[in-house]
Amino acid sequence: MFIEVSVELSGAQILVQSLKDEGVEYIFGYPGGAVLHLYDAIFQQDAVKHILVRHEQGATHAADGYARATGKPGVVLVTSGPGATNAVTGIATAYMDSIPMVIISGQVPSPVIGSDAFQEVDMVGITRPCVKHNFLVKDVTKLAETVKKAFYVATTGRPGPVVVDIPKDITDPNIKVPYKYPKKVTIRSYNPAVNGDKEQVKKAVDLLMAAHKPVIYSGGGVVLGEASKELTEFSQLLGYPITNTLMGLGAYPATDKQFIGMLGMHGTYEANMAMHESDLIIAVGARFDDRVTGKLDMFCPYAKIIHIDIDPASISKTVKVDVAIVGEVKNVLEQMITLIKDHKAKPQKKALEAWWQQIGQWRAVECLEFDRESPLIKPQFVIEQLYAVTKGDAYVTSDVGQHQMWAAQYYKFDKPRRWINSGGLGTMGFGLPAAIGVKLAFPDADVACVTGEASIQMCIQELSTALQYKTPIKIINLNNRYMGMVRQWQEFSYESRYSHSYMDTIPEFVKLAEAYGHVGMRVERPEDVRAALEEAFALKDRTVFLDIITDRTENVYPMIEAGKGHHDMKLRVATGTSTDRELA
């Protein structure tokens, strides 16, 4: 795999060979003027497979989905100008969720940079605030090393997207230079932390042993850091309640008795109440996002806080913590597990019993119950059925809005990397291309894209990509004829003035799916949901678009409204009150 003997290659060949040597399986891209040399080099080999998308945003989300599902970096190739700017939404999406990606963008030839040339845009400048780092390649002899650096930066420490902007002359097929892909690179100014400070770890363990009302609050860092096994062992060793953030779902098995659900704005009653009443929070690879904390000065008022994170800048950014541990969560959890096992104290048995009893009372509120007698299809019911039909073992991607929250609440993820959604940036249009990326990585797995009729239209063109590369995914379109989450906020905060949260010309999705060469099905009655899902998943080699007509007035509960604390949740008032028959 590694070329030891130095050979002479053009810049275009160097890029492709570097990707090969880096072990890249797929690149997601779209050709154009500035990358024609590169596309010609791609054409002349077949080790790196190119997936042609229909819009560059789709390329970034597909690469992102691939990265989230596999843990390997996603790779994107776009041309200069509009190709580059179209990729920005996907780059920002990956940045906010710390997803390792390398984005290769073409640039106009070096001599004309800065002259407002055709399809010129300052990609390095535009992406600077939404990448971990970016490079402009000025010398073809530095290209291989720059690609290696890009992968190194993207995948180590707190991962993130890295852009490599390559002017067209750098890839000139007529200019050949010696090629050698570096085995290793070091960057003197970049040294991510590995292990946690021993003293801090000890302090944290002492606090853990003394806690009466502890809560483990874990986030996406555990998934990214491959620390799910360690988190599970750590939690079960202590016997403490554990809640996951939206990004952390699956890092701890959702079906386990210690799991108290997701926390935050649409978290469970028990998770949010436990956070509020807790005397010790241990945050593991989580970043105290505003959707998690609610109003900051009411956040965990009685708790001491321990925070484990690989990024020092995440610590005490919004919430001041008592014990900070900077390091890879996997290593820090291992350090803690060893200390806990050897510790002379054991968890406070009596206090813990009382704490679990209290949590049991909060659980008894059954905050996720919904109207099961409704003649309309309840979106929550669809997710429950999806969970049953896929035996809880599917990869589930989602778009952004109500359907995303319902998928997070009702699909019980037991494994990491199964739940794939845009948490930080909240990018509508993410789900479909992401599902294609996942399916390419795991062709034998069930891949479902839970979406809504508004989100799906943001990247609908990727249905064409799904056909071309035979990625049979199942699109679960919770069609409520509203931008549901916008409508919900308008109902709660704007006296139901539904300003532009409704579209009165929604396409016939069944026909649309068929036009793209897929199977379309429309489901209108609750009793047909199960059979439709079974039929869709039985069609192993077809992409199926399930257009499920749901109760359009359904809201996501519980909800912490903006400016409120964890203990101040809006719960469903009573079941069966939210059907709006007239509009349905």
Binding site: R128, H133, D311, A313
Partner: protein, 163 residues
């Protein structure tokens, strides 16, 4: 509180914009910023003056350290240091103000760098407050231009900012 942060950064194109962009994107203050190459041509040294609560300054330092191009930095608020800023002031002169301005410049250990029939250019170097005091001491209506470098700083003794 005012903080002077001195940064060693890779001498690469765009490095300055990464720092400036970080400050504008996150809403941090920049009072002044200067940058120039060091004895090692691969490194630039930047001196940045900012202000904010302790929590904000802590975040600024962490965010700066997170930039891949930043090699090392030091916050002078935590170290004894020497601070110098250079200023040039162009003033209008007449026959009977010339002497007064020159003696004022001498009090501030300033130098007259350029003389014409109707102007002086005076150089003053020192901590920023001294420069403020000099500007305040000259008759305001005589000032034509003021240009300041922004402070640069270096720590005292063996402790400092180097690789």
């Amino acid at each position: 509180m005012r903080h002077i942060i001195s940064i060693l950064i890779e001498n690469e194109s765009g490095a300055l914009s990464r720092v400036a962009g970080l400050f504008s994107a996150r809403g941090y203050n920049i009072e002044s910023l200067n940058v120039a190459i060091t004895e090692d041509p691969s490194l630039s040294r930047m001196t940045l003056v900012t202000s904010g609560s302790e929590q904000v300054v802590e975040q600024i330092i962490k965010q700066l350290n997170k930039l891949i191009d930043v090699v090392k930095l030091i916050d002078f608020a935590e170290n004894t240091h020497i601070e110098r800023e250079l200023m040039m002031v162009k003033v209008k002169t007449t026959d009977h103000t010339r002497n007064e301005i020159r003696s004022l410049a001498e009090i501030f250990r300033g130098k007259v760098l350029d003389v014409t029939a109707s102007t002086y250019v005076i150089e003053v170097t020192g901590p920023s407050e001294k420069l403020d005091a000099f500007v305040a001491a000259i008759a305001q209506e005589t000032i034509l231009e003021v240009v300041r470098s922004g402070p640069t700083g270096i720590s005292r003794g063996e402790k400092g900012l180097s690789l």
